[in-house]
């Protein structure tokens, strides 16, 4: 919360205490300068002419009709008339007559005409607004949430400490247990508990990239899972008690045995919660919805676990197109990744989350901390 007061246009540099930061990978519309269009301006002789000119212009040539409603009409004695492209070659005087302006007004407007570049779409973020102002005065409705994603102020110190912790676990699995294969962890952000963890298994099946295995382990916590036969070893070697525990406790069924041992025995990680929320029975859900306590809750809180709804995924590699889309289908809330991949589909070769037609969009963050690997590909 404290960060809110700092200058939002700049990305927040993190304090020395947290070594990890997560940059939001926003879609291009937030990262690029606004596109511009060329318009005709008329410089009036004095400000008293503004009101009568405005009266006709707002009726005959409203900004809304040109898609420029985000712009102000007047800057000092300059008044914005129309987009040059709308004339399609017609002389300006003729065009103004066609749209129905009176002779008197046209006479005033055409005395001192010039062309000017103006932003052709509305600014979405403050930095775009400030940049746009250099061309022409704009209206701006700031979106606090997107602004906080852009500046990094969405995360407080506690969040960043948690990111660092999960990345530490990821790194430990990656380097000690999985011989530098891509790894991933799924988190329930409501209680910061580890729901599932997985690593690439492409030696068994070429589509068993880390995220694909991870979503299948999440499915196991919900009584599902497709690769039970292919991936049994990871959950083997359990002593009698642990096996019994796993049987009774399907909430731990998304975490391979060796990872579970690491989490339970390594002092650095014993404070991390483990296990998924058990799936709810239908009647509980219906009761809750009927009691209408749920109006402000997200779908995970409302209905309980369903696929990866509401879950956050931490991956050592940027996912490829197959995996990135698998996470869309799985309805993940956020995807954090450490290393960019040469075949990555969230920033390197595409920002899949910018494809508007998709029925679900997650937020994407690139984390910087350990140089986790020399991997270059999602697998």
């Amino acid at each position: 919360m404290e960060q809110e007061t700092t200058e939002p246009a700049k990305r927040i540099k993190l304090s020395a205490t947290s070594e990890c930061y997560a940059n939001a990978i926003l879609t291009d519309e937030y990262m690029q300068e606004l596109p511009r269009a060329v318009v005709y301006l008329s410089e009036l002789e004095n400000k008293r002419q503004i009101s009568c000119v405005m009266q006709e212009l707002s009726k005959m040539l409203p900004l809304e009709k040109m898609g420029l409603q985000h712009l102000k009409r007047v800057r000092q004695q300059d008044i914005l008339l129309c987009k040059v492209i709308d004339l399609s070659g017609q002389p300006i005087r003729e065009y103004l007559t066609t749209v129905g302006l009176s002779e008197k007004i046209i006479h005033i407007l055409c005395k001192n005409l010039r062309e000017q570049e103006v932003p052709s779409t509305a600014p979405l973020l403050r930095w775009q607004y400030e940049n746009a102002q250099k061309y022409w005065p704009c209206k701006f409705h700031p979106d606090k949430y997107i602004e906080s994603l852009h500046s990094g102020s969405i995360f407080n110190e506690k969040d960043r400490t948690f990111h660092a912790k999960i990345i530490e676990i990821l790194f430990e699995i990656f380097s000690k247990l999985e011989a530098n294969k891509p790894c991933g962890i799924c988190i329930d952000p409501r209680n910061n508990a580890i729901v599932a963890a997985a690593s690439s298994r492409i030696t068994i099946n070429p589509v068993m990239h880390c995220p694909m295995v991870l979503v299948d382990y999440v499915a196991r916590t919900q009584g599902g899972g497709a690769w039970q036969k292919e991936l049994t070893q990871e959950f083997g070697n359990l002593d009698g008690d642990s096996y019994k525990e796993m049987e009774e406790n399907s909430i731990l069924s998304g975490i391979p045995t060796s990872y579970l041992e690491l989490l339970r025995n390594d002092k650095r990680f014993t404070d991390v919660q483990i296990g998924a929320e058990p799936i709810r029975c239908k009647t509980t859900v219906e009761e809750m919805v009927q009691n209408q306590q749920s109006s402000n809750m997200d779908n995970l809180a409302k209905y309980g676990p369903y696929l990866c709804t509401g879950y956050d995924l931490y991956l050592s590699q940027e996912p490829c197109l197959m995996c990135a889309m698998a996470l869309v289908h799985s309805r993940a809330r956020r995807v954090y990744f450490l290393n960019r991949s040469s075949n990555g589909a969230l920033v390197t070769r595409l920002k899949l989350h910018s494809v508007k037609e998709l029925n679900h969009h997650y937020e994407v963050f690139e984390c910087k901390k350990h140089d986790c690997s020399n991997n270059t590909k999602c697998s």
Binding site: G225, V289, M322
Partner: protein, 166 residues
């Protein structure tokens, strides 16, 4: 090859009865001048609680078993496989099929919500621009669409209620 679409439909109808989105798929191997179906499946998303269990992925898993049993190299087999599927493969499946290097993809109706061909340049993103995979649709498209429409008239029993749009 188009006739194999009928077998894909059989799979789609089979899983529809189980409450799945009715998409069916067969992998046809062209080997020694013989055409042979080596994998057939329909979606199994609700059954596995795994949203990635599209018909194509179940078929890929079957090919792995097939190759292991016959002691064949997967890539040799996949490069001779035509994927016949009732609905345009989604971005995920299309990316996987590009990555695996199948011979070609034939589909029924287009998929404007997730379609790999419709929404994204999959061969560019997966970096498979040479040896471009041919993905062609329109075979029995009306039948495929009708089947989907029948499904969406009913309700997906596992889907959560979507938020009402403001």
């Amino acid at each position: 090859m188009e006739l194999f679409m009928i077998e894909a439909f059989a799979e789609a109808k089979r899983v529809l009865a189980a409450g799945e989105v009715p998409v069916g798929c067969v992998f046809v191997l062209d080997y020694d001048d013989k055409l042979q179906v080596i994998a057939r499946a329909g979606n199994d998303v609700n059954g596995t609680k795994n949203a990635t269990r599209h018909a194509e992925f179940l078929c890929i898993d079957q090919v792995m078993v097939f190759c292991k049993r016959k002691n064949l190299k997967e890539s040799d087999i996949l490069s001779k496989v035509t994927v016949v599927v009732t609905v345009e493969p989604c971005i995920m499946c299309s990316a996987a099929l590009h990555e695996l290097g199948v011979k070609e993809v034939l589909y029924g109706c287009a998929n404007d919500r997730f379609g790999g061909k419709t929404l994204v340049d999959v061969s560019y993103v997966t970096n498979k621009t040479h040896d471009k995979l041919h993905v062609n649709g329109g075979i029995y498209a009306d039948e495929a669409m009708t089947l989907l429409k029948d499904f969406y008239k009913g309700e997906n029993p596992s889907a959560p209620i979507t938020k009402t749009k403001r």
